[in-house]
Each structure stands twice: as C-alpha cells, then as structure tokens.
Amino acid sequence: MINSNNALILKNEQVARDIYVIELHIPNITFICRAGQFVNLYTGNNAMLLPRPISICRADKNRGVIKLVYRIAGKGTEIISRMKPDSLIRVMGPLGNGFKLEHGKVALVGGGVGIPPLLELAHALRENDDETDINVFIGYRNNETFLLNEFREICRHVDIATDDGSAGFHGNSVDLFKNGDTTQADFVYACGPLPMLKSLSEYMRNRADRLFLSLEERMGCGTGACMGCAVKVRDGANWVYKRVCRDGPVFTASDLLFDIEGA
C-alpha cells in the first residue's frame, strides 16, 4: 500500500556540507516500510514538479517517524533544506522493494548519501537474527561522519574511510572494504555512487550473486508508471530495461550489465 499525504516536519538540520537530516511524522508510511525502500518528497513548488526520491534511513515505528538523510543536489533539494520544523511536506511511499535479509557474515558498504539506507538495513538484519555478523565499511568526503555513532551502537565492526584522509582510512569505501574483508563476507549490501558500485561489482565478480546493490536513477513518478528510471538487467542471453523504482531499487549485481552512461 503506497500512501501519499502531508507529513509534519519534526527536524530538518544540516549534518555535513550539503547533507541534511529530515525527520517526518508519517505513521502510515513508517509502520509498513522496510529497509531499502524509499519515499518521494515534493518541493511544493510548481516550477519543480518532480518528486525527489530519498531512501529511508531509519523508521521509528513507536513514534511513527521516519528519518531521511539527503544531499543538496540542485534547486529542489535546496528548497527542501529550507523547510522549517512544524511545517508540512508532501510525501509518497513507501516505494520500491527492500533489501532481502540474509544471515551469517554480512558486509554493508556505503559511500556518501548511499550510507543512510544501510542504517535501517543494519537494524533490520539485527532484528531478524541476533547472530548475524554485521561489518560496516562506509566512506565519507571528510571527517563530517554523519550517522557513524548510530552504526557503532548496533554493529561491532564499523570501518570508515574519507576522501581527504581527515578520518579513518584515506581512500574510498570500496578500497576500505577490500582491505577489511579478509575473511570474505557471505553477503554484501552496497549503496553509493554508480562508479563505486561498478568497482565493487568488478571486485566481487566471482560472487556477484551475493552482492546486492541499491541503485539511483533520475525518476519521473517513483511508482513504476512512467518507465523513466531504466536500468539494463540480464534476461537470458539478452537484456531488458527494468525500472529502478518498481523493480528495484535493490538489484543483485550478477543481474546488472553496468554499461549505463556515466558509469
């Protein structure tokens, strides 16, 4: 069931350069959403009609509050960043399919605004099975390490990298993961920029069926109607375009072709 209504903004704060956390009171979405799903946020501005799809970072089912972390990528997200607590924003969701929850030794690899959905995933994996060994490898631009403490609260092993070397490993999350994944994880979940996901897929090409990637693409509607967010997916010996919003956003790396423009 997809809901489309106004949500009360409880908090909307900057946590790093261009990165904001917004908390929304929207029980009907919070109660039913799963890790890896996303919501559409609307600017309310008639010049900027399209929704901004943002992945769910945390769903507090007791309070009916979802937390989202977003980056100012253009005018639309800039308008959203200026919205004040106690005002309303139109939200649609939950959208897309969540992550499939596996067991055993798992690694979560995230870069930039690909990090937030991994937090809800870590909670979901933990709630699903306390024995799951969750290892987190996340890469930031610099020492503005948003969400780091929240990962440390629930995961024993959290490694960080920064592009500028100001904290943790000097480099990106994929290199961090390569160094840290000495006793190979049974399953790997990743979210981040396309070049990062591509490089991770290359590294894991022999076990790409155990690598789950959450993708981003320019979306029209977010519900699957417009066919705007296409990604090439294997179909026997051939391929077809699938919809990131409806068929994803999580795909198994072995199903993807990765010849997308810009990759």
Binding site: S4, Y42, L49, M92, T223, A225, C226, G228, C229, V231
Partner: protein, 300 residues
C-alpha cells in the same frame, strides 16, 4: 458528466494520457479505476520495444522532458496480461498504438480487432523513436495514408494522436479526418532538450525528449481551438492539465473529452481531482451537460 465519443459511452469526459499511466496497475493502488471515463494505456507495438538508454527524464521549468522511447512488451503480452486486468474495472479501454512503419501500425490494429477493448489511439506523434512515430504525424500525405490503412483494419473507433511539432496542425488534422479518423487526440509532447552543463552535453540519453506538463498547456489549448474549427470529428484534449479548470479550458476550446498525463505522475490522484473539479465547475456555473461547454469559447 456523461459523454459519447464515436458511439462509446464515457461516464465522464476524463481519461489518462498515454504513457503516463502504464496499463493502470500502479494507479489501481491509489483509486478505483472505474471512476475514470476511460483508461488510455501506454503505447503498444507489434513486437516488444526496449526503449531508449537512460537518463530518460529531465525536470524543466513547470514541466518535464522524457525520452522513454515507447518501451513496451508488445501487443501479445498486452492482450494476455493487461486487458484481463483492466476488464476487472468498469472502465473503457483505449489502446495507444505505435509502430515504425504503416505495416506495423496496421498489424497491431489487426491483432487488436478481436480484442476486448473500446477504442484505438493511433500514435503518429511520438518524438522519441528513430523511425515512424512523429514522421507520420508531421506530413499530411503520410498522415492520410497511415490513417486510411489503419481505419480499414480497425474494428473499434480510431482516434489519431497528433504532434504539435508542425507548421499547421489544422492541416494534419484535416488529413487524418479525410483518412477516416473517428476522432483526434491532441497534443503529444513538444520536442525539447536540456543540456547538462557540468558534463557539457545533452542530459537525456536520447539527447532530445518530449516536453510535457503545465508548461505546455497554452500550446495545447491553442491547438485544440484551431483544430476544432477545422474538423467535424471529436477531440480529446491534453497537455498540462492539472486541475478541473484546466480541463474546462480544453472543453471550451473544443475538446469533447480530456486526458490527464504528467500531473498524474506527480500526484496519482490528479485525474480524480480533475473529474471532481469539472463537476464542481458545472454545478457552480449551472451547466447540466458537458455539451453546453464544448467549444463555447468559439461563440464570442
């Protein structure tokens, strides 16, 4: 609110614009599809079409560009999967038909002759495919030819969807009418482009795309107004309709029915709000029949 288009009864004059509504599955989660006058489905071709490379969507001021490229699973899959789904609702089914050649258009229409659908919409105006599509809709001789051939194959009323990317849309409309069209749908999208200034190249994978949304509404209203004067067949008006009053503009310009497209991608309830808005307008202004509004802007 009832209207009759080429012998097909609609419970209200509102449908969905092809390509913005899939085959209705995504929207059935939000409202009862039977509330609509008709569902116009996404373009159906003879064989499956893969569509264009991404990115396929760009936001523009008050609108959007798309270059989907009519991705669809083909007429056989449509007949097998989508018609039974839509027949679960009390709603007219309009099938948008696309092709790369006159033979392909005609073959889809022949295949649909025995299908349980209510109307056909011939798409000779899509700007996103390399051959066919808009090439037919921008040349009155070709328009006449393709419409004539398709009309001969059609067992349901045939509407022809026209492109605004022409010098004189009335001339194309007359050619479609002369070819035997039962009605016209106007307008399809306007060809546009957005440049990604960081990458220094067109943003869309297909370079050009079709502009839709509120930004194009005045162009669409003008096209309906102009064509209404030139032909005698009914018009379904579309292009940027978001509210009931937008729809009333189209009716007054000469449309017998309207379609809601881009607005529904942004707000899934938009098409329902448009139906309610027209109803409200009629009540407030004391109209009892849609016919009293259709074309009334010409009686100035």
């Amino acid at each position: 609110m009832r209207v009759n288009l080429s012998g097909v009864e609609w419970k209200n004059p509102v449908t969905t614009a092809s390509g913005t509504f899939g085959s209705g599955r995504e929207f059935a989660e939000f409202f009862e599809l039977g509330k609509l006058g008709a569902v116009t489905v996404k373009g159906v071709s003879l064989k499956p079409w893969a569509g264009n490379p991404p990115p396929r969507i760009a936001e523009t001021f008050g609108g959007m560009l798309n270059s989907i490229g009519l991705q669809n699973p083909g007429v056989e899959a449509f007949i097998r999967d989508d018609i039974p789904f839509l027949r679960g609702f009390n709603v007219n089914i309009i099938v948008n038909v696309c092709g790369n050649s006159i033979d392909e258009y005609a073959a889809v229409i022949e295949r649909l002759a025995s299908a349980d659908i209510d109307m056909l919409e011939l798409n000779i105006s899509c700007p996103n495919i390399s051959s066919g599509g808009i090439a037919f809709g921008t040349d009155s001789r070709l328009t006449h030819e393709v419409v004539k051939r398709c009309k001969a194959a059609a067992r349901q009323p045939l509407f022809v969807k026209l492109s605004p990317n022409v010098t004189d849309i009335a001339e194309i409309a007359k050619a479609a009418e002369a070819g035997g069209a039962d009605g016209l749908s106007l307008i399809n999208t306007l060809v546009g482009m957005k440049i990604d200034i960081r990458r220094k190249k067109p943003l869309l994978g297909n370079r050009v795309g079709g502009l839709s949304g509120p930004a194009i509404m005045p162009v669409a209203v003008r096209a309906v107004y102009q064509v209404y004067k030139a032909v005698r067949i009914p018009i379904i008006g579309m292009g940027g309709i978001t509210t009931g009053s937008d729809a009333v503009e189209f009716l007054m310009a000469g449309a017998s029915a309207v379609a809601v497209g881009t607005a529904g991608l942004i707000n899934p309830y938009a098409v329902i709000e448009v139906i309610e808005g027209i109803e409200q307008f009629m009540q407030n202004e004391g109209y009892s029949n849609i016919k009293e509004i259709v074309g009334c802007a010409h009686n100035e």
